[in-house]
């Protein structure tokens, strides 16, 4: 027997590694203003900057006027009774700040990124948007026209058409199932926007989430600006959402005769974040299609080369959730890809996930969670996910606990309980 020289490096052996056991989340300071607005504050970081989000629950979906939540939010930067759109943009840009408006199914928000030294100049602009927006007629016409042009481009993209058809099928005539039409844009009226704005953008319907270097001076400035002079109207906003209504028809095919690729979207309504099985289903989803090394990627991209990318995901909303698979594949292999998607799903129902694969997925998911906490903004994002779902920080403890301890037996049980490919909604745009 001879001794290996010390300098010989064995490159076939992986270095030792440590499992992640401790993930610490920063929790916010909370205060409620006199007008009912809730402030959550994450004070951390070295850079002299802050991100401030004003988040409003959307009003209950009105099928007769389906775009109001979106149109009101998008047009907040288009003029107030003291500032024109141009003046708003000038002020924000001059101070090197960034102003964004974003809307989702359930919330709409205004976000300001600002250096602390310029908050005196930038905060009053936001206060003006939230209290004095006027939705000028000319800007509304421009908005309607430009959105319709964008829609024309979107409708030429197979993946977008597939997503619209899929959402319509599984969520029905709700804000989640809405695929905006040209007529929806044409019928937008200034008076409707103004009325919607008054109801939705009230302090009692607002949560302010601050992240960054929020010292006492900055916090006092924010509190002052959004407490005094910002009052609620006479009517409280109705922010409940109608029940999801999945369609009876489960197969949708839109033929595009010249398509080089087909977009595929397959899935089903399922449980949401509030259900005790949700975290376990996230593990199962990760195994199946939730990361680069997933079964779908390994088989359909890395083994067959049918696609540039394929994945699966879970959506979670107030009224329910969804599970879906999405990809774009070569038009000639579309049927074969659907067969493989089904095959991989069924394997989850019959074969135990091998211990080695499950341990990899556990570590991957915990590493992702840790890696998603890049800076103080990410801690605020983690808070938003639970806060707007009505959950507490226990959610993340349960998540880490489930990821560490779930068994292969439990995963098979879940797959059999939640995944029935025959009942899945299937949308194909392209060739089939």
């Amino acid at each position: 027997m001879t001794n290996e020289p010390m300098t010989e490096l064995n490159r076939t052996l992986a270095p030792d590694f440590k499992a992640i056991d401790n993930i610490t989340l920063i929790r916010p300071e909370h205060k409620t203003l006199g007008n009912g607005c809730n402030i959550y504050c994450f004070n951390s970081g070295d850079q002299e900057l802050v991100r401030i989000e004003w988040v409003f629950n959307n009003l209950r979906f009105n099928p007769a006027k389906p775009l109001l939540n979106m149109a009101v939010n998008t047009m907040l930067t288009e003029g107030t009774n003291t500032l024109t759109a141009a003046q708003i943009a000038d002020k924000i840009d001059f101070y090197g700040a960034f102003l964004q408006v974003d809307y989702g199914y359930e919330n709409s928000q205004v976000t300001l990124y600002s250096l602390n030294k310029h908050l005196h100049q930038t905060l009053p602009v936001i206060a003006d948007l939230l209290t004095n927006s006027v939705f000028p007629e000319k800007e509304l016409e421009t908005f309607k026209r430009n959105q319709q042009q964008k829609l024309q481009v979107s409708l030429q993209k197979n993946d977008i058409v597939a997503r619209r058809d899929f959402n319509k099928a599984i969520y029905g005539n709700t804000i989640y199932g809405l695929g905006a039409s040209f007529d929806n844009y044409k019928s937008l009226q200034r008076d409707d926007l103004a009325a919607h704005y008054k109801l939705q953008y009230q302090p009692s319907n607002c949560s302010i989430i601050i992240a960054g270097k929020v010292d006492a001076t900055a916090l006092a400035l924010i509190t002052d600006t959004f407490d005094k002079g910002w009052t609620n109207g006479p009517i409280t906003a109705d922010t409940t959402q109608p029940e999801l209504q999945a369609a009876a028809e489960r197969f949708y095919f839109t033929e595009k005769s010249d398509a080089l690729q087909s977009a595929i979207r397959i899935g089903t309504p399922t449980i949401n974040r509030n259900h005790p099985d949700f975290q376990a289903l996230q593990v199962l989803n990760t195994v199946y299609g939730g990361y680069f090394g997933s079964r779908l990627m390994t088989n359909i991209r890395e083994d067959k080369g049918y696609t540039y990318g394929i994945g699966s995901g879970l959506g979670s909303f107030k009224q329910g959730g969804s599970f879906f698979i999405a990809t774009e594949v070569g038009a000639d292999v579309c049927k074969a890809a659907v067969t493989e998607i089904e095959k991989e799903l069924n394997i989850l129902k019959t074969d135990l996930v091998p211990a080695e694969e499950l341990s990899l997925v556990r570590n991957y998911m915990l590493g992702s969670l840790l890696g998603s906490l890049e800076n103080v903004f990410s801690h605020a994002d983690k808070f938003k996910s639970i806060y707007f779902a009505g959950l507490d920080y226990d959610y993340y403890d349960r998540y880490a606990d489930t990821v560490k301890n779930i068994t292969s037996d439990k995963l098979i049980e879940l797959a059999n309980q939640y995944f029935h490919f025959d009942e899945f909604y299937k949308v194909i745009v392209g060739k089939y």
């Binding site: 850079q47 900057l49 030429q156 398509a259 990361y291 090394g293 890049e374 800076n375």
Partner: protein, 416 residues
């Protein structure tokens, strides 16, 4: 201010260490000084195809992704016309796994036929998904050869044609690796919850034994100055007409680069910018309009793009763009407007320090440009630009005989 230390291994690998102990994560970023510009004109798309093959197993490690995911890490990569960049983020306690994986693939790949065959298919699907099966997806396949006649920027990173991808052989792959994937052709940045001594020790251990290889000397044909107005019109299955006007501009290291970038900001950054305000809001010529630069290491492109409204002719749309360009060439830029774009650039630099990966990539890019420390002097270079300099670069760039215009005409079809 991004602080760092750097050292070079005997085999020529440059290493930069950025300690940031506010995070429990670490990042390992490797930039290889090779991009689509280094390809053979008959084998385009190769640098990018090669990036895919880098994930197909290395000489001692059959799977790249799996061991990384096992330690809680994630990775990705991108290829541009200038560089190929690979990065890993993982819990800092497991940083050695990143050294192990990256050093083995710098040592040698597995060069498996199966991996080549599959990645050829994956890249062909990427070609279709991003360039052919999208409205306007092929714009760079058309615009680049209009702007560049000599320089290898005339093809896109995906390649000139799918045929070049289909024809790639394993011998070509091996030759490309030998030529470009050497320690002296790479810059490694290790950042996050790490320390200099630890990184030195790990770099020596894993990368130190890799042979230096031969130095690649780049000798690309340079693009001559343009003195002819170029134009191409295509009719395509797109929903709306679209106008592109591209100009040749200087290289990233040219002195006037900062003035040119601020010029593009004045024209098109944010809703207070000139093109948006004048051509979308006031005059209602376009539904959207943009201006941007390519920041290339060799002679770059300054691009204007806009989709005219349906009642606006292509001629009117082009004329309106040129009127804005004439204004910036002839009229003085107001002091407030210059301050505005400078302030925006300054705060963008501060915000980018919130991201560990951004800092690591920036350090690698600046080291490639000559000195990582220049990252910390960027802001002052933008702040030093004067209104007169911006006007001067506008006059140099925005000439008809320096323009390449590409028009998409929408084939008449009924609306969905």
């Amino acid at each position: 201010m991004v602080k760092f230390n750097r050292f070079t291994l005997d085999n020529g690998l440059r290493v930069i260490v950025h300690e940031d102990n506010t995070t429990p994560m670490a990042v390992l970023n490797i930039l290889y000084d090779v991009g689509a510009r280094d390809e053979n004109p008959e084998q385009t798309g190769f640098a990018h195809l090669f990036e895919h093959l880098m994930f197909g197993g290395s000489v001692n490690i059959p799977s790249y992704d799996e061991p990384l995911q096992r330690v809680g890490g994630e990775n990705n990569a991108f290829t541009s016309n200038d560089i190929t960049n690979y990065y890993i983020t993982l819990p800092s306690a497991n940083i050695e796994t990143a050294f192990w994986l990256e050093s083995d693939r710098m040592l040698s790949l597995a060069f498996s036929e199966k991996s080549l065959e599959v990645q050829r298919n994956v890249v062909i699907e990427e070609f279709k998904q991003r360039y052919l099966n999208q409205p306007y997806g092929d714009v760079w396949l058309k615009l680049r050869p209009l702007v560049y006649k000599e320089h290898s920027y005339k093809w896109a990173t995906i390649g000139k044609t799918i045929k070049h991808i289909e024809d790639a052989r394993i011998e070509d792959v091996k030759a490309f690796f030998k030529k470009h994937y050497t320690p002296q052709n790479a810059i490694m940045v290790v950042g996050g919850d790490v320390n200099l001594e630890q990184v030195k020790q790990l770099a020596e251990k894993w990368f130190g034994p890799i042979p230096a290889g031969e130095k690649y000397h780049r000798n690309l044909p340079q693009e001559p100055e343009q003195h002819d107005e170029r134009r191409e019109t295509v009719t395509a299955k797109v929903p709306l007409n679209d106008v592109y006007i591209a100009f040749q501009m200087g290289a990233r290291l040219d002195d006037d680069y900062y003035a040119v970038e601020l010029l593009s900001d004045i024209l098109s950054r944010g809703n207070s910018s000139r093109l948006y305000r004048s051509l979308v809001q006031d005059r209602q010529i376009f539904s959207e309009v943009h201006a941007y630069i390519t920041s290339s290491l060799d002679k770059g492109m300054f691009v204007l793009e806009g989709k005219p409204l349906e009642n606006v002719s292509i001629e009117q749309a082009e004329a309106a763009l040129w009127e804005e360009l004439e204004k910036v060439k002839t009229e003085a830029i107001p002091a407030d407007e210059l301050t505005k774009v400078q302030n925006k650039t300054e705060s963008t630099m501060v915000f980018s320090e919130m991201s560990l990966l951004d800092k690591a990539m920036n350090l690698a890019s600046f080291e490639l440009l000559g000195d990582a420390d220049q990252l910390n002097y960027e802001t002052e270079k933008y702040l030093a630009v004067t209104a007169a300099q911006i006007k001067e670069v506008a006059n140099n760039i925005f000439r008809k005989d320096n323009s390449s215009t590409l028009i998409y005409l929408a084939e008449q079809t009924e609306l969905v």
